[in-house]
């Protein structure tokens, strides 16, 4: 099942590597990645799409505690599916 995460992160050189490292290590496959630098030094807007049979909270809880991750939200479609 695919899940989409909307992440706001510090615009640091290693932040994407770290997100991808955690995603791989925790057993989720990368299905899509979009990066948009925000206004001057405001950070990075990242849309990360992953697929896995594992519950998505096992990944979001690991990503959310990363120092450079400022905000992380499941896409609304995912939230609706989790509530269904």
């Amino acid at each position: 099942m695919n899940h989409t995460l909307n992440i706001t992160a510090n615009n640091e050189a290693s932040v994407v590597e770290r997100l991808l490292q955690v995603t791989r290590y925790r057993g989720y496959q990368l299905a899509g990645l979009e990066l948009t630098p925000m206004a001057e030094k405001a950070g990075l807007s990242i849309t990360l799409t992953v697929s896995s049979d594992k519950p998505i909270h096992l990944l979001t809880s690991q990503l959310h505690k990363l120092y450079d991750v400022r905000d992380l939200q499941l896409a609304s479609a995912d939230i609706a599916a989790l509530r269904a």
Binding site: L58, S61, H64, L66, D68
Partner: protein, 549 residues
């Protein structure tokens, strides 16, 4: 002031007076600053040893440990120690020199992408690009290392940044920290679960003492009147005189602990994480228990075991909020009878030294508040089973990573953190050789560390598994060509003695503790002795194998 001098000033500002490391090309400016700094540097003989000493310092004192290494091989030698600190939640700041930015990315001499290498073994990693960022970055590194669930932080500093003019040191800016609010919203539900439980059990991990919640834990256990078990890292959390404490649970836990946890109807997990060495077959672990889980790391809640009720935040607030009286005297009596029925036996036949008995003797003879640093393997489990500790800071064992070679350098760090306390490194003949070079550090600083090597001339735990699960095919576990350990110690001006018989143990321990300096006691045991009980891989914790010979 240059960047290197600023690094030392920030360390002082952070209250650091002891650091461990090994110099090299890309970190020479920082070592030049160390030359005149009041921060005391302890030269180890390998970067891994230095980092383990910093971990031993941190774990025995509760402070942040600091280690230094140069770029390239110096930095790669830190990786195992960073991983160890990550899995055991140890606050550690590792500072590495890096080649100058002008040559970074060119495969320069001793250049390696240590930041990339470190990503999976640190809580966070920084590369400092300008001397202007140094102070804030280092302060942030300390804040990250000690906040929330502690962990290791790497700060990689290129040589040109170390040499750049850094100006004056401002008052430390307040590091950013992510506030973790302690929510007690479910406390009524937790109290009700506890009050209604017929067979409650407290399962205590290293997180309790790291939260500074030892007093609250004793109050909680006294008010709730429930039995308790601990993990390897939680040992020493429960007061020695608590009659309802059943010991360590898990693969080599006590029978009473494992049987009682399997039978409980409410498991209260405090600062622990349902590690596979604790649970055995997860699907069969505490099968009838509801779970209350208290932790500071949100990622641990519902990671491997669903919790009916969970709390995040400060254990010191949470424990009093969920304490409730229970009515489970039958259960307490049952647990007590399990403990009586399955107590340890030390009536080992023959004259040869029986390691569990020797460690019990060591435990009874060592001064109060001694720190015991273990390596990894059979001796590590025997220490956990047969020695008693008054605080988790007195039992340093590589739990999550299970790193052989941890014990000797960790003991060096512990001795420097707590010079007034006796520090004992208990090692195996396999593990000891993994960081044996640190005998040089003990010699250089005349550190009165007591070393006990339990020698079965085997990689004992691997050999035990080969015996039990690999048809006695003893592949590459014979160490019968070990060096003469007493002679090896003597080469570092460390006296020692070797014993082989039970009746020699008491006097040998007496000699070791009486000697004012470092000392090595070599204890030869029978290679046939194994660690019991053992929960086989894939089995439930009640299916322990007991001694077979």
């Amino acid at each position: 002031m240059n960047g290197a001098e600023l690094v030392l000033k920030v360390l002082q500002q952070q209250g650091v007076d002891t650091i461990f490391g090994y110099p090299g090309g890309a970190i020479m400016p920082i070592y030049d600053a160390i030359y005149q700094s009041p921060v005391k540097h302890y030269l180890c003989r390998h970067e891994q040893g230095g980092a383990f000493s910093a971990i031993g310092y941190a774990r025995s004192s509760g402070k942040v440990g600091v280690c230094l290494a140069t770029s390239g091989p110096g930095a790669t030698n830190l990786i195992t120690s960073l991983a160890d600190a990550m899995l055991d939640s140890v606050p550690l700041v590792a500072i590495t020199g890096q080649v100058s930015q002008a040559v970074m990315g060119t495969d320069a001499f001793q250049e390696i992408d240590v930041l990339g290498l470190s990503l999976s073994v640190t809580k966070h990693s920084f590369m400092v690009r300008s001397a202007d960022e140094l102070a804030a970055t280092l302060n942030q590194a300390f804040a990250i290392a000690r906040s929330g669930r502690p962990g290791p932080v790497l700060v990689d500093i290129p040589k040109d940044v170390q040499l750049a003019v850094a100006g004056k040191l401002d008052v430390a800016a307040e590091p950013q920290s992510r506030a973790l609010n302690t929510s007690l919203a479910q406390s009524a539900q937790a109290r009700q679960l506890i009050a209604n439980a017929k067979k409650p059990m407290a399962y205590i991990g290293g997180g309790v003492h790291m939260a500074g919640a030892m007093p609250q834990l004793q109050d909680f256990l006294a008010q709730c009147q429930m039995p308790s078990v601990t993990t390897l890292k939680g040992m020493g959390s429960v007061a020695k005189d608590n009659p309802n404490y059943l010991g360590m649970l898990g693969m080599h836990g006590t029978q009473a602990a494992n049987l009682a946890v399997q039978q409980c109807d409410l498991l209260i997990c405090l600062g622990a994480r349902f590690d596979d060495r604790v649970t055995g077959n997860l699907k069969k672990f505490a099968p009838n228990a509801k779970v209350i889980h208290v932790d500071i790391d949100p990622a641990e809640i519902n990671k491997v075991r669903f919790a009916e009720v969970s709390f995040l935040g400060d254990m010191r607030q949470i424990l009093p909020a969920i304490a409730s009286t229970t009515d489970c005297s039958d259960w307490l009596a049952h647990c007590s009878s399990l403990k009586q029925q399955h107590g340890w036996r030390y009536d080992h036949p023959g004259e040869r030294i029986y390691a569990p008995l020797m460690l019990k003797q060591l435990s009874e003879r060592m001064p109060d508040n001694s720190v015991v640093c273990c390596d990894v393997g059979q001796h590590q489990m025997w220490v956990a089973q047969h020695m008693r500790f008054s605080h988790p800071r007195n039992h340093l064992s590589s739990g999550g990573l299970g790193t052989m070679g941890f014990g000797l350098p960790a003991a060096i760090g512990a001795k420097l953190a707590r010079p007034q306390d006796t520090v004992i490194a208990v090692s195996g003949d396999g593990s000891f050789m993994m960081n044996v070079q640190e005998l040089g550090t003990i010699k250089r600083f005349r550190l009165p560390v007591k070393i006990v090597i339990i020698d079965n001339q085997r990689l004992g735990m691997v050999k035990q598994w080969q015996q039990l699960f690999f048809n006695e095919r003893y592949s590459e576990t014979d160490l019968s060509d070990n060096p003469d350990f007493v002679a090896l110690a003597a080469a570092f001006a460390i006296p020692g003695h070797s014993v082989t018989r039970k009746d020699e143990v008491e006097s040998a321990l007496e000699a070791m503790f009486t000697w004012p300096g470092p000392y090595l006691l070599h204890v030869r045991i029978d290679e046939k002795d194994n660690v019991w009980p053992l929960v086989p891989p894939g089995a439930a914790n009640e299916d322990m194998i007991m001694e077979t010979n």
